[in-house]
């Protein structure tokens, strides 16, 4: 085991253009939401997995993503008080902490991550029913806001593929249920040409995102495909897919990563650039948000970089070829709804993880099992064993939570992580 070298701080380094751009996009979006009551712009609350941002944008409706608000609250240190408030209102300790964080935020004035008040929803749109909690979550929000709700029933990919009838089933719901509801909320007719333009822009951004994520196949990887990549997937999974800003963002990001690749630079971590890549990991599961930087630092200090992760596919899977297809607008959206990572059966997920291990030349697979999310956690141990037996490479398991700080035990997590990394080193060296 070699001595870990602390990376030099990056205080003097200016923020990358893509980071500045993303921050501006987010700020502008929340400012627009805050002004919605005056401007008369309508908004739709919806979730990240398999969302239909292009369709909303084609109606000039503004998306609001409650999970993103919850994770932002977690990162800003607000989630503990929000969760405590939700528990006080009767939501038990075992409920998903995203839900409680959102409810707590709502009851505290619904102030979003930029400090501005979020508007009440004009519509609640659930386009992914793989997570049962989402349904209950919107049920709670419906009681609160008394607004219309559209829930699409999205079939699970139990056999690892989308059949014609599954596609037709979801497409019909979009056409017959969702579009009329959106027309009513927006006060305008469905415009397929506008939708097609949005979808074409989505495909363009998706192409660049996939290129960025796959840059981790290089040694050293120029990106961290878990901690770092949660920023990269931000615009595409949230309110911006299908917009010109998203296209520009991903183009700029690609140029930046290309430059890092040319210079053979490692990823930028909270403490600066990683100077030596010692461990290449595939990560399954979401990160923890309440101690995000501390958690990342634990990896960075050991020279461990995520080269592929499944969380960055939580909105939708692009890396095995899916792109939004403007020529089949409703069908392509139906496929997107059904194609997000947690809607895939366990054997497909094992196949994906195994491919990642091989294609990204990873040293090991690490699972971060979060208490809140059974869509991710159910079956993870069995998947872990299967990947281990298929690849013969070390696997590790840590436990935390999304936004409840009570479930992030730093010393225990560090202990497990170090043990896992030393296990990789031991296996590599045969002894020491």
């Amino acid at each position: 085991m070699s001595v870990s070298t602390k990376n030099p701080p990056l205080a003097a380094t200016a923020k990358d253009d893509s980071q500045v751009r993303q921050k501006q996009m987010i700020a502008a979006h929340y400012a627009r939401l805050a002004r919605a009551s005056e401007s008369g712009e309508k908004n739709v609350y919806t979730f990240v997995p398999g969302n239909l941002t292009e369709l909303l944008r084609s109606f000039d409706l503004l998306p609001v993503l409650p999970e993103i608000n919850a994770l932002q609250s977690g990162m800003r240190g607000k989630s503990a008080e929000y969760i405590a408030l939700a528990e006080k209102l009767g939501h038990s300790e075992d409920v998903c902490t995203y839900v409680k964080c959102d409810i707590g935020m709502l009851k505290s004035g619904n102030v979003g991550p930029t400090g501005e008040r979020l508007p009440s929803p004009d519509l609640l749109l659930l386009s992914y029913t793989g997570c049962f909690t989402f349904m209950k979550w919107f049920e709670l929000l419906k009681q609160e806001y008394q607004c219309p709700v559209v829930m699409l029933h999205v079939p699970y990919q139990a056999e690892g593929r989308i059949t014609d009838s599954m596609r037709a089933y979801v497409t019909a719901q979009i056409r017959q249920k969702l579009i009329p509801a959106l027309e009513q909320v927006a006060g305008r007719k469905y415009d397929e040409d506008r939708l097609k333009e949005c979808l074409a822009r989505s495909a363009q951004a998706e192409e660049d995102l996939v290129w960025v994520l796959q840059s981790a196949k290089n040694r050293p990887s120029p990106i961290d495909a878990w901690f770092g990549a949660v920023y990269y997937v931000g615009p595409i999974f949230s309110a911006f897919r299908g917009t010109p800003e998203a296209v520009e963002y991903y183009r700029a990001l690609r140029v930046e990563i290309q430059e890092r690749l040319t210079k053979k630079l490692g990823p930028v971590t909270p403490d600066g650039m990683m100077t030596e890549e010692k461990y290449r990991l595939v990560i399954e599961g979401p990160p923890n948000w309440t101690s995000f930087r501390e958690f990342w630092r634990m990896f960075a200090e050991e020279g461990a970089v995520a080269v592929a992760s499944t969380y960055t596919k939580v909105g939708g899977m692009y890396d095995f070829g899916f792109r939004h297809d403007p020529e089949r607008p409703l069908e392509t959206m139906a496929e997107y709804c059904m194609g997000c990572y947690t809607n895939l059966d366990l054997s497909t997920r094992v196949g994906i993880l195994t491919r990642y291990m091989q294609e990204y030349e990873a040293d090991g697979l690490l699972v971060n099992s979060v208490k809140s999310c059974n869509s991710f956690s159910a079956g993870q141990l069995a998947m872990l064993r299967e990947v281990e037996s298929r690849t013969g490479r070390p696997v590790g398991f840590i436990e935390s939570d999304l936004v409840d700080p009570r479930y992030f035990s730093a010393s225990n997590i560090k202990n497990r992580l170090e043990s896992f990394l030393q296990m990789i080193a031991q296996k590599r060296g045969g002894a020491a």
Binding site: F397, Y407, N415, S419, Q422, M423, Q426
Partner: protein
């Protein structure tokens, strides 16, 4: 003699093992963990070196025409006498530390003169006890000075405050001990202490022997040089080693178990605050592991808590549980809830033995879940950690392993508490050979 050392700094105890360049164990040392991690490590290493010296003494006595049983008895008696001398030296140190504590804090507690007299009485009584405490076959509450001296001190303080005076406070006396003991625990034995204590012990043996005294002289004169060290355990980040010499407990327990029992494939370690289920390959390399994470229920501390609740010593729990005829089913592995369940069962008239048997089973059930998550139990199965010394826990484990996985070899070493330290020492040994090869 050059040696490598492995230190396992656990939440309850700190263990050290010294090995020679071939990885052969020379000595083992253990002490209670304390707030001063450096001192805990130094004391554990010093104890391991003492142990190594006794092995050297035994070696020195060989081939001199002395009967093997007699030699063994000499060394055993010598060790016992040595511990007594150590205890006496620490008592003297405690005396000084108590006087300092009295000067610093006595006034605020009031009745300084009365406290001083009481301390003198307590210490005089304690000074008269070591022979009996360390007599052959004596049953000591603990071998750690803090526990042993602490229990004697509080007993004498209790007697004094009960009968002598209404103004002399038990709490004030215990408060002074709590301050003074930190000072005593921070002191690490000087190297010369070994020869001094051992010779004094030899002089006081019933059967005095010139051969033994010479063997002590020769053994004590062998220079000991530490060439490599590796640390592990919960406090490993605080160990006085560079980062590169620190290994995870998982790796150390895996390797330690492999060396103790080379056929080992699955290791279960139940320590003070964590339980580890580890799978290893034929070379002792870890292939997978699971640890308790969000909760420390079902670990060694659980038993400590139960012992306190029942006003028993930790080592008394196992034997009492073994007397059970019908184990009570205890569902809760939450330490605090188990305490509540324990009291309720007692009030319902259940036998203590049966309740204890149920509590031991509850711990092992939790460990079984961890084992299955790590990949199951494969033969040979090695059980390590402080709880492996508890016969009731071992009995419950054997039964549950048999029920769930069938017949298999289950290994438990009497030295199982040292498994992590042994692994660390062997990593130190490998590190040394790599360094030697590179040079």
């Amino acid at each position: 003699m050059q040696y490598c050392v492995g230190i396992d700094l656990g939440s309850t105890t700190t263990k050290a093992i010294v090995v020679d360049e071939q990885g052969k164990v020379l000595g083992r040392g253990i002490t209670n963990s304390r707030s001063n991690y450096d001192a805990a490590c130094a004391v554990a290493v010093s104890e391991a070196l003492h142990d190594a010296r006794f092995a050297q003494i035994a070696g020195e006595l060989e081939g001199r025409g002395i009967d093997a049983d007699r030699r063994a008895a000499w060394v055993l008696d010598l060790e016992r006498g040595f511990r007594e001398q150590q205890y006496r030296a620490q008592l003297a140190h405690l005396d000084g530390a108590l006087q300092r504590a009295l000067r610093e804090h006595g006034r605020e507690r009031g009745h300084e003169a009365e406290l001083e007299t009481a301390l003198a009485t307590i210490l005089a009584r304690m000074a008269a006890e070591p022979r009996e405490l360390f007599a052959a076959g004596a049953n000591r509450k603990s071998d750690f000075f803090r526990d042993l001296a602490g229990s004697r001190y509080t007993e004498h303080a209790g007697m004094l405050t009960r009968v002598k005076s209404e103004t002399l406070s038990f709490d004030a006396l215990v408060g002074l001990f709590d301050k003074a003991i930190l000072d005593v625990e921070a002191k690490v034995a000087a190297r010369s202490d070994f020869a001094e204590h051992a010779q004094r012990a030899a002089h006081e043996l019933l059967e005095r022997s010139r051969e033994l005294e010479q063997a002590i002289e020769r053994a004590a004169a062998v220079p000991m040089e530490e060439v490599s060290s590796v640390g592990t355990g919960y406090g490993r980040a605080r160990l006085p080693f560079p980062r590169s010499r620190i290994r995870s407990e998982i790796l150390c327990h895996g390797l330690g178990a492999h060396v103790m029992f080379p056929g080992t494939r699955t290791v279960l370690d139940i320590g003070g605050q964590d339980t580890k289920a580890i799978q290893i390959d034929a070379a002792g390399i870890v292939t997978s592991f699971q640890m308790n994470d969000r909760c420390a229920a079902g670990c060694g501390r659980y038993l400590g808590y139960i012992a306190d609740e029942m006003n028993l010593g930790l080592h008394e729990l196992g034997p009492m549980a073994c007397k059970s005829t019908r184990a009570v089913r205890i569902n809760s592995t939450c330490t605090v809830f188990a305490g509540a369940e324990l009291r309720e069962r007692l009030s319902l008239g259940e036998r203590r033995e049966d309740i204890l048997a149920g509590l031991h089973r509850a711990i092992i059930l939790r460990a079984m879940s961890l084992l299955s998550r790590s990949g199951g139990v494969r033969s040979e199965f090695t059980f390590t950690g402080g709880v492996a010394r508890n016969l009731a826990a071992v009995g419950a484990l054997r039964k549950l392993v048999h029920e769930n996985y069938g017949e298999m070899t289950i290994n438990i070493s009497p030295e199982s508490i040292y498994t992590g330290a042994l692994g660390a020492a062997l990593f130190a040994c490998r590190e040394w050979s790599h360094r030697e090869l590179a040079a």
